[in-house]
């Protein structure tokens, strides 16, 4: 394999990693900060993709991004409303919304499960044209993805320092405290999920437009892939300030895609992506638990074989 194809693969991994890192940043807010495992992520990702595609196809490439994000806000609001005001368990609320979104997404695409954007003007084709005569003419996907990621990281860093951001973090950190304080946990949960889902939808919108097509399965398994990336990012930067941790999860997402790309080069079939991400999530979440069990297991083992007085 020559250097050029390695570079091409690396760039592909980088692009995908950056675009999906927007979903990882969404989970950074909902899962790491608010302590809600938002299982509507898959459906919301697809919603962003379909809404963005439909608006772009209708001839409004720039408008497609805010509209897709607004759709994400709406989806996040419904998930949050179900769990805070309707007494539905938060995991169940996510699953219910996710299921409902399947129909919504097909309806958005006009009773079709596939939309093609080969001839559609998107933010990517617009930048490609603008950069036509510069040395960066082929880097348009990377540039847009990078800008989006940087904006979201800056937004999160600033937002989580505000009083509202602190209240959202406290809601995830100590629900007991928040319940008996002047913070309304219903409000913080709703705001947190609206914001995080707008990022998820943005992620879906950009992925669909960069690959010039959207199908109903585009978001399937996204929540597990994003969780895997989030946990990989957490291995490198566990503690520290929020901006650093946010950058850490972006790296987690890129590293995940790089590992996956390498695995593909070693003839791993593409359909293994989801199994691999599942296994990463299992290992990352269970490892600390299993590690804490080792001393007890060791003692039991020693006792059984008579190496320690009973």
């Amino acid at each position: 394999m020559d250097l050029n194809s390695i570079l091409a693969l690396g760039e592909n991994a980088l692009q995908l990693g950056l675009i999906s890192s927007l979903t990882v940043l969404a989970l950074f807010l909902s899962y790491s900060m608010l302590n809600v495992c938002d299982l509507s992520t898959d459906g919301c990702f697809t919603l962003g993709a379909t809404v963005g595609a439909v608006v772009a196809i209708a001839g409004h490439p720039l408008l497609s991004i805010p509209v897709a994000m607004a759709a994400g806000v709406l989806s996040g609001f419904i998930t949050a409303f179900l769990q805070t005001k309707m007494g539905i368990n938060s995991l169940l609320a996510g699953i219910i919304v996710n299921t409902g979104l399947y129909s919504v997404n097909i309806a958005v695409m006009g009773n079709s499960s596939l939309l093609n954007m080969n001839r559609t003007k998107t933010v990517f084709t617009m930048l490609k044209e603008a950069l036509a005569d510069t040395p960066f003419s082929q880097e348009y996907v990377l540039i847009i993805a990078l800008i989006a990621v940087i904006l979201v990281v800056i937004f999160l860093s600033l937002f989580l320092r505000t009083k509202l951001g602190l209240a959202i973090r406290a809601t995830g950190d100590n629900p007991d405290m928040v319940r008996s304080s002047s913070i309304n946990p219903v409000f913080t949960t709703i705001v947190g999920l609206c914001i995080s889902n707008s990022f998820t939808a943005l992620s879906g919108c950009l992925l669909a437009q960069s690959q010039k097509s959207v199908n109903i399965d585009i978001g399937t398994g996204m929540v597990t892939i994003a969780l895997a990336s989030l946990l990989i990012g957490g291995i490198f930067i566990k503690k520290g300030k929020i901006p650093l941790r946010a950058v850490g999860v972006v790296f987690g997402s890129i590293i995940f895609r790089v590992i996956y790309t390498i695995a593909l080069r070693f003839d791993m079939p593409a359909y293994m992506l989801k199994l691999v991400s599942s296994i990463i999530v299992i290992i990352a979440i269970s490892a600390p638990y299993l590690k804490s069990k080792i001393p007890a297991l060791k003692r039991r083992f020693a006792l059984k074989f008579g190496k320690e007085a009973a």
């Binding site: 009083k163 209240a167 406290a170 304080s181």
Partner: protein, 261 residues
């Protein structure tokens, strides 16, 4: 300041587990009153606090705070006027956030999108120094690293950062070692006196029930069975209290923790 008129609360009504936790209870505390509350387990002391702070709505009766009817007000809105401390020191602060961030939430001034200013930090520093625990030099550290006593002192500071109309202390020193408990109690007394707070304190320590505050009430089966203040209270001893308990409840106090402490 605080008026409860005929409040009642029954949990699981109409089932075999039906339990009347508050029974037609009426109570009034004046501004600046420091009332200590004693009673056996299950007497309804914590339930009374839950009713006042709005963890649940009472089945009947009215709750007035500073002349305003708060009977139907949700908990987070009442929390702006009512500070509350629990027995568990882990309950009042967010462990993953720094001391500074916790205090900023308690201070609560500024809009939703404002962040901690330099002036806030100086203010926090001064306030923390009053605790004499060296916390003013650890403002960036997560609260999870503090000891139970430090956390409870911090919670006390947070609950009274903006002097509340009413302070509810639910055995807030019971989980601390005797030395730390003493320190937190002294701090409590100081803060309550300096701000002229109206305060209700549940305690299992009969001695501090008499030492602290200006009034003591005894609860049993969701009602107030004994209410003492003024000169009568000044001459009261722990054994008098135990006798009173036997008189009004009709049995010996069966709680070792209350007897021994």
């Amino acid at each position: 300041m605080l008026t409860l008129s005929n409040i009642s609360k029954t949990f699981n009504p109409g089932t075999v587990n039906s339990k009347t936790a508050l029974c037609d209870l009426s109570f009034h505390a004046d501004k600046g009153d420091f009332v200590t509350i004693i009673g056996a387990n299950g007497a309804g002391k914590s339930t009374l606090f839950n009713a006042i702070s709005g963890s649940f709505m009472t089945d009947s009766g009215r709750i007035l705070l500073d002349g305003k009817d708060i009977t139907l007000m949700p908990e987070f809105k009442r929390a702006r006027q009512i500070g509350r401390l629990f027995q568990d020191p882990m309950r009042g602060s967010a462990p993953g956030m720094s001391i500074e961030e916790n205090l900023s939430l308690a201070a609560g001034h500024g809009g939703w999108l404002s962040s901690i200013s330099k002036k806030d930090k100086e203010n926090f520093r001064e306030r923390l120094a009053l605790l004499q625990m060296g916390l003013e030099d650890r403002m960036k550290q997560p609260v999870g690293l503090l000891s139970g006593g430090q956390r409870q002192a911090l919670t006390l500071m947070m609950a009274t950062f903006n002097p509340p109309k009413l302070l509810l202390l639910d055995e807030h020193t019971a989980a601390l070692d005797p030395g730390t408990a003493e320190k937190v109690l002294i701090l409590t007394k100081q803060i309550v006196e300096e701000n002229g707070l109206t305060c209700l304190m549940i305690t299992h320590n009969m001695q501090s029930a008499l030492d602290l505050g200006n009034r003591t009430i005894m609860m049993n089966n969701g009602s107030i069975v004994y209410d003492v203040s003024g000169d009568e209270r000044k001459n009261l001893t722990v054994s008098d209290l135990l006798l009173k308990f036997k008189e009004s409840v009709g049995k010996e106090l069966d709680n070792d923790r209350m007897l021994l402490s």
